[in-house]
Amino acid sequence: MNNNPFSTDWMSGWNTLQRKMWEDWSDVTQSSWTNAWQTENPMNFFRDGMSRWQNPFSPPTQKPEAMAMRHAMGSMEEFMRMGREVFKVFQGMSEGANLGQEWTAQLDKAIQQAKAMFTQGNESLYGAMGNFGNMGKMGNMEEMTAFWSRPMKAWSDFMGSNPAFSNDTMRALLAGGPATEEALSRFLSMPGLGLNREKQEKIQEGMRLSLEYRKAFEEFQKLMNESSKRALDLMHRKLLEMGAEGKSMETMRDLYVLWVDCNEEANASTVTSKEFNEINSRMMNAMMRVRRNMAEMMDNSLAAVNLPTRRELDSAHRQISTLRRRISAVEESLHELQGKDATSEINTLRDDMEKLGVRRLREELTALKQQVEEALTAPVDTGAESADKSAIKKTVRIGNARPQQAAAAPAQKGE
């Protein structure tokens, strides 16, 4: 085989192979099929594998092995998709036939084309919330953008999987397009009248908030698109550097790692910017305003048919918390009254006394007492000594006397 990767000797088979690849990719999620594992098409393994892996893990659960497998599947999809995109770029580059030293110009052209994905209007925005990973729409704008814009996919997955954020209304808000916006603007300019005036105003407020959310989301999408474009520039630069150094990518995996590195680098510079903080917060805040408005309208509807509302549940939960605190306080008071804490405090005091070296003092005191006892029990030799011991004995007795007895002594003396 010629060393030129786009020489005609393998390019003749390449077009056939690529066509088969596209066909298989399109089929993967569209058709039911059998016995694909044994077919001759080299790309059928993917379709067959999809089915084999998904079966043991469906329906989806939150078990880690199922989650990991699903993510692995997603990564596989991404890996394959990258392969497809890269091949497409190769093919585009090879259309100029002899690459020679012209590959840098071709690469530049390919990168510029890829960057154009992120500047061609808002097509990706309007599909972003519901169509990530839609393998049936191969090669369209939204899918390509999703491939390059993983933070948006993470957001989309979150929105789709969490019931608190996911519903048709939220999706519709983003999928409506300019026509919806224009219609909404007209509706919002209508003044409220009659009995339903307040209800109408609430709906109008909701729509106004929805438009704000759409704008905020669009801003966010644009920012992430800029990040993706920076990632492409980085990739471009790194590939040129590799070419200049005489290095080359040997595997698809190498290319994938380079793609990840470039995107992470671009993402890091985006998410640490002040602009991101502001835009991301604006989007979140706008979304929360929409949700709050929707919850309020829902509450009004529930109240109208005498069903429990969020407001009532919140009130009940607040009371539960207050009661819990009161019960804890009562239990602790009871515990204290039962004197259980005294043991702990005594032990603590013992603990502190030990730290202060009281044990040593106690031992010295015991030794002193022993000396005194020995002195008292020793044989009497002289009258003077006898008088001294008698005095000591008396002192010891007074020291042992109960307080009231000791206090009574002077009074008796006084009498």
Binding site: W14, W53, A154, T251, N285, R289, R318
Partner: protein, 354 residues
Amino acid sequence: MFPFAINPEKAVEELSRFNQKLAAGVKTFSEVGPIESGISPKEVVFRDDKVTLYHYIPRTDNPHRVPVLVVYALVNRPYMTDIQEDRSMIRGLLDEGMDVYLIDWGYPDASDRYLGLDDYINGYIRRCVDFIRDRHDIYRVNILGICQGGAFSLCFSALHPDRVRNLVTMVTPVDFHTPDNLLSQWVRNLDIDLLVDTMGNIPGDLLNVTFLSMNPYRLTGQKYLDMVDLLDDKVKLKNFLRMEKWIFDSPDQAGEAFRQFIKDFFQKNGLIKGNIKIGERRVDLANITMPVLNVYATKDHLVPPDASKALKQYVGSSDYQEVAFNGGHIGVYVSGRSQKEIPPAIANWLKERG
């Protein structure tokens, strides 16, 4: 030179090989068995609402007489500290002769929406501490606070210094406004009142997507591609899945506690400014007069080192020490090196202080 030496045949062969590995991996998946959460034997000794206090069975004959209470964060689950036999900070402490307790916060639901930091710190933590004091007939316990649990431990120690003998903080944010604190920057302009008033409890998934957004391409893509290389090794796969389970096992956050934590700690940086009130009392870090050991990770992307090291300036303790671990926020308690470095460092420090 053209930088691609990949032709379609090679690419298809590579992808085919990859696919075969993944297909073969289904068998390993089926054999890997249940993914346990926490491996060291433990007993439930106290329950308080959804909070459970665990006591780990000591692994030495005469454990240290002052037990250690581990206070973990509300986000994610505390079994990260005991995730697998050869990656367990808890086991390391037990092997060093420590007597270890751990607070498991459980999974808050809608009925916990009004739990505030006062309930967590002056309520649950205090009652767990008091239980241990009673059980061991001691007045003060050792506390080991991790991440957000470290911030809670700081508050508790400042409010109840008479109950804490020694305080260990691990990867704990203290100064929330260091320039490299990405999480803090992200929440600076969020309307937290609106968020909590609208959502009630904050979904764990929202926190997950926030953490993933820090490295979205690696954490949601490349990681799983790399996983395929582990599929022929059951042990390695199981370890991967344990970590995976932990990462996505994110309890919802009680709304009021979340509101107060984000506003007072993240947005107002109140811990170092001294304007946080828990219940009726202001938290003053100068009240922390007991010995303090502050463990931080030099490559921590969630709690940057400077955010932790700020503690030194604010505590009232004259016995303050730091341990710098050369690794990241999670590596500090699960990496192979941390097993050799961190538990012994903590245990020896505690033993020296009685």
